[in-house]
């Protein structure tokens, strides 16, 4: 009697599980391509903001190299993070380097930093943060223009010692009521510049690719980018 009801109920639940799993599979199939496109578009938007289309002529999203193992600790990113390379006529003109500031007011601040060939900042964007609304969240371009104050700066102008917020004797503004957040961002952008400066040769002097090589790289890099796409979820 009991066994009968148990088997009946478990069969019922199994049928349910099958039906719901089927529904999910169908929805997933139907939306998969659109989701991938949306993810790509969002990624691209952030990259294009830093390095607008006219200044590069390659497929930015697919021209990626992994962050070197030695730099993962400095940039505070995992092995899945990649550096995007903007090219013009085959020559690398700028890099977009991912980084994570570990010392925000409430946790990690994820950002991407664009670095030009001459070592100056092409642009910085905050990708993800949990800073206090109204105080620390001014690092987000949606809330405040502050993040644009990095544009054009390098380790030479201003001097390295001045890569601090004003309160610490540097050149970057802090916000009223929030010093920790901008301090964390300034520090991490500086570390990115130092990483690029130390690896200038390796990062920028990628041999000019011939057309055939380029197409083969493209295939392998497409695979890489689909991997990063997964990480983005």
């Amino acid at each position: 009697m009991l066994g009968q009801s148990i088997s009946k109920n478990s069969l019922l639940l199994a049928a349910f599980a099958l039906a719901t799993a089927g529904t999910l599979a169908l929805t997933n199939l139907g939306t998969k391509d659109r989701i991938a496109a949306a993810e790509r578009a969002a990624q691209q938007r952030a990259l294009f903001e830093i390095i607008p289309l006219p200044s590069h002529d390659n497929d930015l999203l697919n021209d990626v190299i992994p962050v070197p193992q030695s730099a993962q600790e400095l940039l505070n990113v995992g092995s899945e993070a990649s550096i995007y390379r903007a090219r013009r006529n085959g020559e690398i003109t700028a890099l977009i380097v991912p980084a994570r500031a570990p010392d925000g007011y409430s946790g990690d601040i994820d950002m991407i930093v664009g670095v030009n060939r001459d070592g100056s900042v092409a642009g910085v964007r905050i990708i993800r943060h949990k800073e206090t609304p109204g105080l620390g969240d001014k690092i987000d371009l949606k809330k405040h223009q502050w993040i644009l104050s990095f544009d054009g700066k390098s380790l030479q102008v201003p001097f390295v010692e001045e890569w601090k917020v004003k309160k610490d004797g540097g050149v970057f503004d802090q916000f009223a009521g929030a010093t920790i957040t901008p301090r964390a961002v300034v520090g991490q952008v500086k570390r990115v510049l130092e990483f690029v400066a130390a690896n200038q040769q390796a990062l920028f002097n990628d041999p000019l690719l011939t057309p055939t090589e380029q197409s083969s790289t493209k295939q392998s890099s497409t695979k890489q980018s689909s991997d990063t796409g997964k990480d983005h979820e």
Partner: protein
């Protein structure tokens, strides 16, 4: 259940009398967490509404097949798949909003209002009433979310309806209303979690005041009609 379902009653209960957020106090976690702007509130409200309608409808359809012993796991499975489908759809069509709402979309599964309606109403009613109940409960929840979001956005940033293009497309970018102007000292407190609690508290208090007023008026009307009917009877007996 009788055949004549009172849809007016269902509507009133969902939107006001038994409101998920203000009376049952269910689903407070997402309510407090994502109601910092109108667009976030609307996004989560819509997602919850869709899930409620789907889960209530499906539960009502299978109510005769599922035995009492396994009804809760079955309901949870239905709700979970409805939520996951909604999540996939949001990811496909409103990707940036999905990024903002983040974990709170999958967490709709744990919103007690959804399981509550499935068990308390949908499992005992026909398809149409169950769907209407889900819709009205979801709408009631969404309206409260939007109200909280509007108050917090207005106090915290001085404007309303910012970033509406995340849901309605590019034309909605211009919907932003700068109510207080640039000189408004933003009340940051309203954007922080304590601000959310206090706004919800005031909304609940406001609803209780209105309910008390309505009740007083209804009592007064009742008293009057009693008087009137007496007089009618008197004249009637005289004539």
């Amino acid at each position: 259940m009788s055949n004549d379902v009172d849809y007016k009653e269902i509507t009133h209960k969902g939107l006001w009398g038994n409101n998920a957020a203000l009376v049952q106090l269910l689903g407070l976690c997402p309510l407090l967490a994502v109601s910092s702007t109108v667009v976030n509130a609307l996004g989560l409200g819509l997602a919850t509404l869709i899930v409620l309608v789907i889960s209530n409808s499906v539960v009502s359809l299978i109510r005769r097949q599922v035995s009492d012993a396994v009804r809760l796991p079955a309901f949870v499975m239905i709700i979970a798949s409805a939520v996951t489908c909604t999540e996939l759809l949001m990811k496909a069509f409103t990707y940036e909003l999905y990024l903002i709402l983040g974990i709170f979309i999958p967490l709709i599964v744990t919103n007690c209002a959804v399981l509550g309606r499935a068990d308390a109403f949908a499992s005992k009613n026909k398809l149409l009433p169950a769907a209407v109940d889900g819709f009205m409960m979801g709408l009631g929840f969404m309206l409260v979310l939007i109200a909280v979001g509007a108050v917090r956005e207005l106090l915290g940033t001085g404007h309303l309806f910012a970033d509406m293009h995340l849901i309605f497309g590019e034309t909605a970018r211009s919907w932003q209303l700068n109510v207080f102007g640039a000189s408004f000292p933003n009340v940051i407190f309203a954007l922080l979690p304590p601000g959310a609690f206090i706004v919800v508290g005031f909304l609940i208090a406001g609803k209780n005041v209105i309910d008390a007023k309505l009740k007083a008026r209804a009592d007064a009307v009742k008293a009057q009609t009693t008087k009137g009917s007496k007089r009618v009877r008197t004249t009637g007996s005289v004539a």
